[in-house]
């Protein structure tokens, strides 16, 4: 429950008077607050700076240092104040958390100092409020990266007992480790450059042959170029195989981008070797040679900047996609408009809309080749609008990409994004847990039978019902829940009584939902229900206890008593309104309540179940006063025998 709202609990409880005339059941007893102290000021002396606050303010968060009895360890008898030898500046934020319920992270504060203080005072950082949470996470990430970078710098020292394979891999990844690696690094770099230059020079026209045409150098000096190509491919193949051998995870290596580039770079050569000199395939073979240019991408192993450019483009995929999409939209629009504008003029180059695409693209990127030019006035007007808008559309996403590049250049993006996803999920999960803490706390305390002893009426039965151990348990549990919590639980309990339904958690709810879907038989035991209602209401010791005497099958929470193949039991049993007032109304409410009761005739699917231990049954009958309905006892027996029922799947 949020802090400030605790102050409104009296209001919520007072408003519960609105339910009273509507409720049909008596209400539970309110928790007594005889130990409620008058609110007092306490002094917190943090390294000389005195903070003062109400004791109630600190009690709002009982699981922190200041809210629990842990602070008594810091109590100074002579000065009657709590002394903490910590940073007073950070303590300001922490105390404000108690006051306002929101934890803020001051920007000027060092992240590790802040973390330490939070840990000291028992506050989890996940509850930093949204206004400061991003800043906190960014600073924390930077800090951890810095620590990791420091660690990595020390990693270069050679570990003893590295296998040959590991040494090779380290040499490949980090050329500065040994001279051999450095030599290898430069040699491969040289050959990449050589191969690329060869490809380029191959196509340069190289002098005249006797028959009039210019021939490119590749055709003139075929063998020379072939030898050069072979040498480069040899080197690249050897390098690839060595990397493959040395890789710690060969599968992962083969999937990585760099290895794909390597493969694509050397494949055309081998395909060319294998291919014969057929006329029809040689055309395709020539196209394959284009892929040789991919060797230039091998340089990205040698250049950090190139890698970062690649990451940038990958991370800006959405912006690039948007750019592409908006451009496409604009191109189509303007091409259509230009086509129809220029349709009238004769000798127009705008023969079709796809033909106008070229004009639109050239105009929007402000290239303006001039091969297609509008001639009509309308065409010229639209053409000018097209070129103006082109500038805008292209200029917009570019700064985003630029800023992205600089951002990536300063931080490592990949691993952090993955880590942030996990942390965000964990944070939300933790916050959800603490928020739902109040409802689960209520269910938890119910299950512990705390509320059983808080019945307003029938103290006689209360004494008979509660077995010996429960009283001590109750007292123990009373101690652990604070007054605020017990008052809140009392409020929720009153609501249960008013509506005659009880809160359950998701698991049990789903199970009950499943069973209502299977219900087919009408209720047979309104009387039993009423008898049951007197023995113990819905808030009995264990959640499904009241139904056990009736049908003697357990829910899956008590499966240790059954051997079952599936968990589809239908429970009968219904907490009945505990009406001790006018009789006619009593019967009516029983009837209405029994409509919710599932059948006592069971429909199960392939269940072999053992009847319940007789203790539960015996509890029900002797404790009940004279049942209002005389047919109560006989109905017990059929229900217990109904348990053993095996039906076909």
């Amino acid at each position: 429950m949020a802090a400030g709202v605790a102050a409104w609990l009296p209001f919520a409880r007072a408003a519960a008077i609105g339910w009273m005339p509507v409720a049909n059941l008596p209400m539970p007893v309110a928790p007594s607050n005889k130990n409620k102290r008058q609110d007092e000021l306490i002094i917190l002396n943090v390294s000389g700076r005195r903070f003062q606050t109400w004791r109630n303010t600190l009690d709002r968060y009982p699981d922190t240092l200041l809210g629990s009895s842990e602070k008594e360890f810091f109590f100074n008898e002579e000065t009657r104040e709590y002394f903490f030898d910590r940073d007073p500046d950070v303590f300001r934020s922490i105390l404000n958390f108690y006051r306002t319920g929101k934890l803020h992270y001051p920007r000027y504060e060092c992240i590790s100092a802040y973390d330490e203080e939070l840990a000291f005072f028992g506050i989890i950082p996940e509850i930093i409020s949204d206004c400061c949470y991003e800043e906190y996470k960014d600073r924390k990430r930077e800090n951890t990266e810095r620590l990791m970078d420091d660690l990595e710098d020390n990693k270069d020292s050679k570990l003893p007992n590295m296998t040959f394979r590991e040494t090779m891999w380290r040499a490949f990844e980090n050329p500065h480790t040994s001279t051999m690696a450095l030599v290898f690094y430069y040699v491969t770099g040289f050959f990449i450059a050589l191969s690329v230059i060869t490809n380029v020079v191959e196509t340069v026209p190289c002098g005249y042959m006797p028959n009039q045409r210019d021939v490119p150098c590749g055709e003139r000096y075929t063998e020379a170029f072939f030898c050069m190509d072979t040498a480069c491919v040899m080197i690249f193949t050897v390098e690839y195989l060595m990397r493959l051998f040395a890789a710690p995870s060969r599968y992962r290596f083969m999937r990585s981008v760099m290895s794909i580039i390597d493969v694509v770079a050397i494949l055309p050569y081998y395909i060319g070797l294998v291919m014969t000199n057929n006329e029809d395939v040689s055309g395709a073979f020539v196209t394959l040679r284009v892929f040789r240019v991919f060797r230039i991408f091998k340089f990205s192993r040698h250049s950090q900047g190139l890698r970062i450019l690649g990451y940038t483009l990958k991370s800006c995929a959405s912006e690039l996609g948007f750019l592409l999409f908006s451009l496409t939209m604009a191109i189509i629009i303007f091409a259509t408009v230009m086509f129809y504008a220029e349709k009238g003029s004769s000798s127009s180059k705008f023969t079709s809309i796809p033909a106008s695409f070229w004009y639109t693209i050239v105009t929007m990127t402000t290239l303006g080749y001039g091969d297609m030019v509008p001639k009509t006035i309308a065409g010229k007007i639209f053409g000018s609008i097209c070129s103006l808008s082109g500038v805008l559309v292209i200029a917009l996403p570019v700064p985003v990409i630029v800023s992205n590049f600089s951002r990536i250049y300063h931080q490592n993006q990949r691993a952090d994004k993955r880590k942030a996803q996990k942390v965000q999920k964990a944070r939300l999960a933790r916050m959800r847990i603490s928020k739902s803490g109040s409802s689960t706390a209520f269910l938890h305390s119910k299950r512990n039978g705390l509320n059983q002893s808080l019945e307003l009426t029938l103290p006689y039965y209360k004494m008979k019902l509660s077995p010996q151990g429960s009283l001590e348990e109750d007292q123990q549990l009373k101690k652990t829940t604070s007054l605020l919590e017990s008052q809140h639980h009392h409020l929720l309990h009153c609501l249960e009584k008013t509506t005659n339904h009880e809160f359950v958690d998701e698991r049990l709810y789903e199970q009950g939902y499943l069973q209502t879907a299977l219900q087919n038989f009408p209720s047979q035991s309104p009387s039993l229900s009423s008898e049951e209602g007197i023995t113990g209401t819905c808030c009995s010791r264990r959640p499904k206890k009241n139904i056990q005497p009736l049908n003697a099958t357990h829910t899956h929470s008590h499966t240790h008593n059954l051997q079952e193949l599936s968990a589809l039991h239908i429970q009968c049993g219904e907490q009945q309104p505990l009406n001790t007032s006018r009789s006619s109304l009593n019967l009516m409410s029983d009837e209405s309540g029994s409509l919710n009761c599932k059948s006592s005739g069971l429909v199960t699917t392939a269940i072999i179940s053992i009847p319940t231990p007789p203790s539960n049954n015996s509890r029900a009958s002797p404790d009940a006063p004279s049942p209002p309905n005389p047919e109560a006892p006989p109905l017990l027996n059929p229900s217990s025998t109904d348990v053993v029922k095996i039906s076909a799947l």
Binding site: V5, E502, V504, T580, L585
Partner: protein, 225 residues
């Protein structure tokens, strides 16, 4: 019809103004006015002595109440949304907004759309320190949604549905559609003595005073502050 035309005219005027502002490049002034309006709603309660005289709380109790009130609503008044939010925090499993709406109307005695500290404290004074008659009166006022002096079945159905809404989905046994209606039937059986389909204040108070359970539960929250 004329109101429709007036509205149209107003909208057209606003649009023309907007166009003008777009062209001349001054598009901001609206937001500032809105903000001024919002911050103007502040409220300072009457003096402590007056409240002490009007309610049955002691000075210290009023101090504690005001501190809690002001903490959650620094502006001094609660509007309906804040009220719903605060009330919903106590019932995490269900939806408390409808019942909070009815409560809000019951506390907002002068029907000005906001609950000031005086309204709050008056209401609490009745609920916690009032006589049984006053409490029952207050409850009747809560149930009588349109404040006409009669509780009809529809009004009661709304109230009871809102109470059941607070339970949420995960209940045992599963909440059925007809449960609220049945509950209303039970209520009317009990309260509507002359079977005329509505419950008047006298029938209500009469019947409640004869019902032990209700009487006992009315005393439940005596010592809440």
């Amino acid at each position: 019809m004329s109101s429709c035309r007036k509205r149209c005219k107003r909208e057209i005027l606003k649009f023309a103004q907007y166009l003008f502002r777009v062209i001349t490049g001054t598009l901001n002034p609206d937001s500032i006015e809105d903000e001024l309006e919002l911050s103007a709603v502040r409220h300072r309660p009457e003096a402590l002595e007056q409240l002490e005289a009007q309610t049955r709380f002691s000075r210290k109790e009023l101090q504690i109440l005001y501190r809690g009130f002001k903490n959650e609503c620094p502006s001094g008044v609660v509007n309906e949304d804040t009220f719903k939010e605060i009330y919903a925090q106590f019932f995490p499993q269900g939806d408390a907004s409808t019942y909070a709406h009815f409560l809000f109307n019951a506390f907002d005695t002068d029907h000005n759309g906001s609950v000031s500290f005086e309204d709050f404290v008056m209401g609490l004074s009745i609920l916690l320190r009032g006589s049984v008659q006053e409490k029952l009166n207050w409850a009747f006022n809560l149930y009588d949604i349109n404040k006409d002096g009669y509780i009809t079945k529809e009004e009661m159905l709304d109230i009871i549905k809102s109470i059941y809404d607070m339970m949420g989905k995960c209940t045992y046994p599963i909440l059925k559609e007809e449960t609220p209606r049945q509950h209303v039937e039970i209520f009317f059986q009990k309260m509507d003595k002359n079977r005329d389909g509505v419950v008047t204040i006298d029938e209500f108070i009469d019947c409640c005073q004869n019902d032990e359970n209700i009487m006992r539960s009315m005393q439940l929250f005596e010592n809440v502050i």
